[in-house]
């Protein structure tokens, strides 16, 4: 079967949904498979207009795959470290907080990458994405230091780097 280029996103979504279905049913009986195929196709079809087109999402490239793995490992490390910091703040008898809003611009361009950045900020304790409007983020941080760091977060540069690589490819 020939897959047309513009339909690739559709079939990738279909494949992902089917994989998820197979993982949660964990049976390869033909009836299960049939239901899975029909449902995945229907869901992908209904949401056709909402699927992320290549211009809006990261491309699946071997060159960036390593960077993505690195990104998520680093994010995990950041989550552990920040969790520890917030736990210390909460448990200290005297509350040493200096809540701050910080408003800044980002170099990250693709909508999906901005979503990932926003989610990463919220997942990391101590910072919380309050608003994203175009390239401007409003972030609430529990201490002033966390707010200062957030505006120049290295994870943001990582995402921007990945986009550079994609543009070059």
């Amino acid at each position: 079967m020939c897959i047309r280029k513009e339909n690739r996103t559709f079939w990738a979504t279909f494949g992902l949904l089917l994989l998820f279905w197979l993982l949660i049913t964990w049976r390869l009986h033909w009836q299960h498979l049939l239901v899975g195929v029909i449902c995945s196709w229907a869901v992908a079809m209904i949401n056709r207009d909402l699927l992320l087109q290549p211009a809006e999402r990261p491309l699946l490239l071997l060159t960036t795959a390593r960077k993505w793995v690195q990104y998520f490992c680093q994010l995990l490390a950041a989550i552990f470290k920040a969790n520890w910091d917030v736990a210390r703040i909460v448990l200290k008898p005297k509350l040493e907080i200096s809540p701050s809003f910080v408003r800044y611009r980002t170099r990250v361009g693709k909508p999906f990458n901005r979503l990932i950045l926003g989610n990463s900020i919220t997942l990391t304790p101590g910072t919380l994405t309050v608003e994203i409007a175009e390239d401007t983020y409003v972030v609430h941080a529990i201490t002033r230091a966390a707010a200062e760091d957030c505006a120049e977060w290295e994870m943001m540069n990582r995402l921007a780097e990945i986009e550079e690589v994609e543009r070059g490819a």
Binding site: N83, A87, P99, S100
Partner: protein, 110 residues
């Protein structure tokens, strides 16, 4: 192995306790959200990961890993929506909340 599982469960519970203490002690909506997001990310993450270790390599552990993945995807989204709603409604903030504006500097960097 069981000792490792217990360590993970206890660590997870520790973060849940910290989350609840934070929820009670911190002054405003935003700060409280910081405490509760922490619960969900590390607390639930560690407890579920302990269960993954307990289940060993099996169907159950795959499903548990999927649950972790979905919690980590949906939790920040939900927290963001709550914060966004509070921000839009000009929810009162704690005393001494600063606002730093770095947009001009960010533009200069580009």
């Amino acid at each position: 192995m069981e000792i490792l599982v217990i360590i993970f469960l206890l660590a997870g519970m520790f973060f849940f306790v910290v989350g609840v203490v934070g929820l009670l002690r911190l002054p405003d909506v935003y700060c409280r959200l910081h405490a509760t997001t922490k619960c969900d990310t590390l607390g639930a993450g560690l407890i579920l990961f302990g269960l993954v270790l307990f289940a060993g390599i099996s169907v159950d552990s795959v499903k548990l890993l999927l649950i972790i993945l979905f919690i980590w995807l949906t939790n920040p989204t939900a927290s963001h929506i709550i914060a966004h709603a509070a921000y839009r409604n000009n929810e009162p903030t704690a005393e001494g909340t600063h606002t730093l504006d770095k947009t001009e500097r960010g533009a200069a960097c580009d």
